[in-house]
Symmetry: C2
Subunit: 408 residues, 2 copies
């Protein structure tokens, strides 16, 4: 067992260090891209061309890695071939272009794919067998997630939890924890810091707050499901209507550009961190979550790169903000609950999301976050943003006729 520990300590630390470094580069690049776009608003006019560029790059060089996160999940369940090294630089480039020109996307997909690709590089160098490879890929996912959000324990559990709905296996637990914890150290060491979200006061537990959290959890789950299904649906539609792949993000870029001509929609572009922070501080328009859904679904379904999770945080925080106004609840509390719970529903990762709430907002929110994330998870259906995710067990227990099959 000592040999096992030493071996995985080294392998997972290497993956963690590499993934952490990659996340630091990503975070710095996105900061630059966002600052540059804010300083030069005209860049948005080039979004369709930027989309065409991203599409062309993936069409010419990236067909083997287009699956992205789903490719990683598929490889873990059912190893077919190696994850091409090019996944890491391509997704980084695609994401930076997406954000520089104003696409509404996230970054966890990028971090996770870089982590996975780097993990598979370590697999090849270390000549690992298929069982060990599977585990190292999971560690790469954990490490990417942990370091891009600054949430080591949530990242560790995310890598274990994301592969299947309703089931969690522990055989990768040590590598996932080590890789996530090491990777989380790297951005901080390089002076890259994460946004701080503040929930100044969590009310004491009461029937009222319990009921409000349950009700909000239902809405969070339904919205998470709508987001996931809208993205998959529009993606299929775009593939059907536009046959030449590089043209898809071009068309998507045109659509985002037209949408952004509407007044007040500027804040739905890019990562949207300032609006997420605002959602913890003051009442926002009730429809902000819907605006962000439209912008993100169009951006991602048409082929831009980045990921879904930061937009889901945005959607959740602004939706929580709106629900707080409707339910007469404290705005920061419901913004924080929405932040984690819409993601919990859309990604089917209730335990990682609950832990994330504690890591980001403090332990006082833990119980409410647990309720919101679990209820959201139950109400988001047997689908999610990662269509390669398997169904381990039906969410309500008992039978599901799709057990252990893909959910695409």
């Amino acid at each position: 067992m000592l040999v096992y520990l030493a071996r995985w300590l080294i392998l997972a630390s290497v993956v963690g260090a590499l993934a952490g470094l990659a996340s630091a580069v990503l975070l710095l690049s996105l900061e630059w891209a966002t600052d540059t776009r804010n300083a030069h608003r005209w860049l948005l006019w080039l979004l369709p061309l930027a989309g065409f560029a991203v599409g062309l790059i993936y069409h010419l060089l990236g067909k083997s890695v287009e699956g992205g996160n789903n490719l990683l999940i598929d490889e873990i369940h059912d190893p077919q071939r190696i994850v091409p090294k090019r996944m890491a630089p391509l997704i980084l480039l695609g994401t930076v272009i997406t954000h520089l020109f104003g696409g509404s996307a996230g970054r966890e997909g990028t971090a996770v794919q870089m982590g996975g690709a780097l993990a598979d590089m370590v697999t090849r160098i270390g000549r690992l067998g298929p069982d060990e490879r599977r585990i190292l890929l999971m560690a790469g996912i954990s490490a990417g997630f942990a370091s891009v959000f600054g949430t080591p324990l949530a990242g560790a559990v995310f890598g274990l939890e994301v592969l299947a709905i309703g089931r969690l296996r522990y055989d990768a637990i040590l590598p996932c924890f080590i890789a996530a914890i090491i990777s989380d150290q790297v951005p901080a060491l390089l002076g890259v810091h994460h946004t701080h979200y503040a929930i100044p006061l969590v009310p004491h537990f009461s029937i009222g707050i319990f009921a409000a959290t349950l009700a909000a959890g239902i809405v969070f789950g339904l919205v998470g499901m709508v987001f996931a299904q809208a993205t998959h649906g529009l993606s299929r539609l775009v593939k059907c209507l536009v046959k030449f792949p590089p043209l898809r993000p071009f068309v998507g870029g045109v659509a985002v550009l037209l949408l952004a001509l509407l007044p007040g929609t500027d804040k739905y572009l890019g990562l949207g961190i300032p609006t997420i922070v605002e959602a913890f501080e003051k009442p926002l328009p009730l429809y902000d979550f819907a605006g962000k859904i439209v912008f993100t679904v169009v951006t991602l379904a048409s082929g831009f790169k980045g990921g879904e999770v930061t937009p889901l945080f945005y959607i959740g925080a602004t939706l929580g903000n709106a629900l707080a106004q409707l339910l007469a609840m404290p705005i920061p509390v419901l913004a924080g609950l929405g932040f984690v719970a819409v993601f919990a529903g859309a990604a089917n990762t209730p335990i990682a999301s609950t832990i994330m709430a504690i890591e980001l907002f403090g332990p006082e929110i833990g119980v409410l976050a647990g309720i919101a994330c679990v209820v959201s998870y139950l109400f988001s259906g047997h689908t999610g943003i990662y269509h390669a995710q398997r169904i381990g067990h039906g969410k309500r227990g008992g039978k599901t006729d799709k057990t252990d099959s893909g959910i695409g």
Copy 2:
């Protein structure tokens, strides 16, 4: 899904409220028993007779519930019959007697068994089917654990995690969370409060602290395994040597009494909360953990009642205290890590234990607790304090020739 939510909200809330009430009664009774014993030290001389009484009560009335926690776990995996209602009063009585006369035992077994028995009472009244019964029993375990320790999220995950090694299913996630969260409210509402353990300062992550945590995690896991195997081994031996069951705890009581005649062993009797608190504050003798192991193994293996977890907290905290002295690390930090990690190894519940560390000691300890608990879990072998626990997956991944079989 709304019907599902409403149904389980009611069922789990009822189980949570009942289990929380039972835990409050238990906590108050144990406070009384401990205070009384401290005020009347001569009660210890009656420990053998008290043991005979506990043994006789279980021999006459409790044969059907002697399995305790293992009976509950078995019923969840493989439902055979109902959990007798008498489990709750018998375990409460047995535990209070054990503590009143100085036996070294815990209380989570009692809380969990009361939670399970009350859950099965709700099952019968609500005429639930076998699938729903299984889930409500898990909610009862979660609720008992959550309310006796004041750790709602750790309790919720414990109920999901304890059934099998290396695997976690989500189909009971809503009932477990609801029951745990509701039950945790009850003792506080009744003015029953939990002990507070303080870790004033957690050092920043460094290679040194990482290495020390890994090394400590190995020791925590091995000690957890030794504790579990010693308890099972001595229990088999006692059953072999002493044929009349009520005599077993009598003999055990004599042994504990003789051990307690040695100077300075007083602190190994009972729950031992004052020593656990001290372990966070100042250097203690390096052998305290071993003393507590001996007293607890003799007490529990001979048939006294209570549970293993608070003694495991004691063993872990004092062992961490000793390791801190040897490794020149901060005493409160290693005491806190030992507190959760020996338990994580002995019960095979690394995620619940990590969450427990955050709930009890604050989020700063989270990453170190995660490492210590996962490493301890890996080093504690494919066995544990609950012999009914199944092996879902081997801890190191790959094959285990005992998959999906009992581990007794």
